[in-house]
Amino acid sequence: MDKENVKRLISDMGAHDCVECGKCTTVCPVTRFNPEFAPRLVVVKALAGEEMDLSKDSDIWICNTCEICNNMCPYEVDYSGFIRGMRGEASREGHEPDCSQGGLLHAMMRIMANSDLPQKRLDWITDELKLADKGDVFLFVGCLPQLDAIFEGRNLDLVETARSAVRIMNRMGIEPVVSPIEKCCGHDLNWAGDEKNFIKLMNHNVQVIKDSGAKTVVFPCPECMRTFDLDYQDFLGDFDFEMTHISEFLARAIEEGKLEFPENISISTTFHDSCRLGRHLGLYDEPRKVLTEIPSVELVELEKNRDAATCCGVSGFMSCNSTSKVMQMEKMQDAKRTEADVLVTPCAKCRIHLDCSTRDETPVDNDLINIPIMDFTVLVDMALRGKLQIPDAQDKEARMEDEKPE
């Protein structure tokens, strides 16, 4: 571990301002279920100049980088930034996180970073969708097609989010650019400390956007948005194109009267503030504004909402463990208690994780967690088409019956 780097990380995070009030530990969802872990202690250890354990099951990897602690800290100690930096140190020393899906996703990202193989990333496009090769608006699709391949069989149809975004834009008279050579934004590698490959992906993607001549990039994914807006610009300085999350884009369109909602069945929704969209980017109002502007949609808040929302339990496909599971169970129970018809999430990965948590044997009764999960963009598109529908909740019992080996 490079002592100088660690010192710099400690001063960058503002650890010297820490007054050891312990607020961060009180709110940390990981601490709640894993008493061996506490953000405050890591800060204290760092301040005392203690050597840190960088191995895969150590403190630096179990943090979800959800930033509740940053958010609560009266002295704005940037805990998650410190964690990311430490992961960089760990990765330089050859340590790796304990990846969920065995590391498949990170391998895919590294492959993209190091090659220019001809991808098939546009198979999701249907005839009804109007797209352009060049134009003002770029739709950054991200890894939705790849995630669909990896999680096939779960019937999540994640790429429907991209189709929905295009349909909505077409309705507004916009034909967005989508690129066959776009690559993963590198969010997960960045948070895994793999800076080298992250930078390769960054340089490639920024070039793709510049070459397209687009003035605005719209992101359906909170992670891609965070990565461009905060991390890429951190490295490369301010971009001259505008970056906007689909919720901001839609909120603005509604405000300008560009979207009209026809009649729909009424449904009540509750909204999951994904940590990237909420605490990382501060976008709390925009998605709520959109949901409440849909005449037939009602919004009921989760008990833990906005900046107090807990995350989905797994970040960057790292450290999916028993703590993640408990966090997911809490989230699903909170959602079910609202008595809303659906839980709406803006993030494909949250959907993957929350869906997964309700699949196999759960520590909690099925009745307490079986609320269907819907993607934000897909819901808005359905509402615009007058086709709002409540999807089926995960029927765990029926599914387990199906999957029994003969």
Partner: protein, 151 residues
Amino acid sequence: MTEAMAPAIEEEFQPSILVFCCNWCSYAGADLAGVSRLQYPVNVKVLRVMCSGRVDPYFILRALELGADGVLITGCEIGDCHYISGNVKAKERIERLSKLLDQIGIGSDRIRLEWIAASEGTKFAQVMEEFTDHITNLGPNPLKGSETGGG
């Protein structure tokens, strides 16, 4: 050099092929092929696992990332898996991974799943030969030479 080893197209290209063999069937099949003195290409490197269900898609992608030209996964016939449904899961996983490989441009034709029983020494040798030919025709892993793909 045997006939099978002489690559048909490019003289120099000798693919490196990783084969996952299930302990209970294809690994025994490989043994039988050896005991029966059947020839199969030296390009094949066998890795024994307890069941085809042990093969995480990540293992396969990681092998390709590190420059393997082809990966073969072998297991017991459906219904014969010693862990009941390990091979059914392997089949599903490989179908999913194939999709991903096509999407990211490596191509699903670099991986294959085969059922080979313990008694099928001849089949083992045949499959190795055939798959080696197939990969030789495909040419080197496109990741070779890149930073991930090693040399």
